[in-house]
Symmetry: C2
Subunit: 282 residues, 2 copies
């Protein structure tokens, strides 16, 4: 068994808000409200780095966060990796208490800002108690090992999965997004089969997990699936051919929704109420 | 716990071949071959009853079964329920050793032929050791309680499920089809949550389970998901509102593929080899 301390967010740090994509930007705006609440009137950096064409993203978040009490919104975009050391980019983080990664291509985030001064500034926001949020590609990138590509809406094949090193803000899990909408249970289980040390977490659209220390709570309108492979008794991922469909016995699966919470160390759902105090005290 | 004898096919009867839709009708035709093998040169009744417009279905199966050694293919269609007692329809079953339900609307099958002389003839084919196959709607209809409608490719809502009495050839399970292709894990778990007595079985396209007595084997190119709710520790389906997303803890999930088998009494995957003799002896 893995050291239980190696699962979840790093203790003593800020909050991660990991969103399955398409969070509501009008109406109840539950998820954006939660982000805003944790930005606490400071500056929120909207990182559109995942996108090849960032046009429109920042504007839509300006509207989405309108009236929610965020101090200031600034856009961070990096066309080429060398920009991630530029003083003008780093200055965007002055007074920042939150970073929000929009959607696009998760590999664009890691290849452009991984191991740069810019990434160090993001980590600093997090380590000083700020909030790091990410939606869609911005959600996947939170993990140590992130899902990049894999089958959606067809039978999952053993060889059909591309993973890469992520930002590593959340440990011991692998995140998938647009989960129900794109029929991704197969590829999430495929990822868990490769190393059941990681918990598989699939997040529906307009749904998020709010991660602090070694637990998370669910907010938003959809579901969150947690696939726990600790008890797996058989899989064919080693002896099967890459084009074979997956065979995997005895996965433990939880379906969570708003009000549910999850203990990442204990690998089990817990009453959200028990955590409420801890979560809202921050 | 349910009496274990109440799960699976009725002992001593024939074989069920339950297909997740879109079985290959050219190329390897693995599933149609398995149906043909079990028809053993007799007559195969292609029941297109599920369809509102049966045109083309029969012809595509004539081509699909071409050269596979089936004695004779005949089409059974029922426009109105009263036809299900007509002598000319019942005569189609003379010498029949197999029935194949094509896709469409599962409610059309049960409302048109449920509790008719025609249904009795189908049962007779089964009880005398023949094969009953069904694809898509024809797969759902095999269960005692069948899935009729529910969310695909979006977060599953508690109230978003329509079920109805099926033909009841397979007991203690609930079948869903086009499983990976239409992202249906949510609705299958929703059905299991309503009564964990039933095992949830989700079948991908071009994939089938071959059911004999209280076990099945998997054939075809995709996956089969088995959701076992026996250990569920919490669900919100009673106290939640119908528009709420599902919350469900501790489901046991198996992903099976060609070569895997499942013991329906013991609720566990078993090595296919152990069953091979029993299955192929028939």
């Amino acid at each position: 068994m893995t050291n239980p301390e190696e699962r979840g967010a790093r203790p003593g740090n800020g909050t991660l808000i990991i969103i399955g994509g398409h969070e509501a930007k009008e109406g109840r705006r539950e998820i954006l409200k939660e982000v805003a609440r944790r930005v606490k009137g400071g500056r929120l950096v909207i990182a559109t780095v995942a996108s090849h064409k960032p046009e429109g993203y920042f504007e839509s978040y300006q509207e989405g966060f309108d009236g929610l009490g965020v101090g200031e919104l600034v856009e961070l975009y990096v066309e080429e990796r060398h920009e991630a050391s530029r003083e003008e980019k780093l200055r965007l983080f002055e007074g920042a208490t939150g970073v929000f990664f929009s959607g696009g291509d998760q590999l664009r985030i890691t290849s452009q800002i991984g191991d740069t001064p810019l990434e160090a500034h993001i980590r600093e926001v997090y380590e000083s108690g700020g909030v790091i949020a990410g939606t869609s590609a911005g959600a996947s990138v939170m993990c140590e090992t992130m899902l990049v590509k894999g089958t959606s809406q067809e039978s999952y094949r053993i060889g059909d999965l591309q993973m890469a090193p992520g930002l590593g803000l959340m440990r011991g899990v692998i995140i998938d997004q647009h989960f129900a909408e794109r029929g991704r249970i197969g590829r999430l289980l495929g990822a868990v089969a490769q190393n059941p040390r990681v918990l598989g977490i699939g997040i529906d659209e307009d749904t998020a997990i709010v991660v602090q220390d070694s637990h998370f709570t669910v907010i938003g309108s959809g579901g969150v699936y947690v696939a726990d492979g600790a008890g797996i008794t058989h899989s064919n991922i080693v002896e099967g051919r890459t084009e074979d469909p997956l065979s995997l016995y005895d996965v433990r699966l939880h379906v969570l929704s708003a009000g549910d919470a999850f203990d990442l160390e204990g690998r089990k759902p817990v009453p959200a109420q028990a955590l409420q105090e801890a979560v809202s005290s921050d």
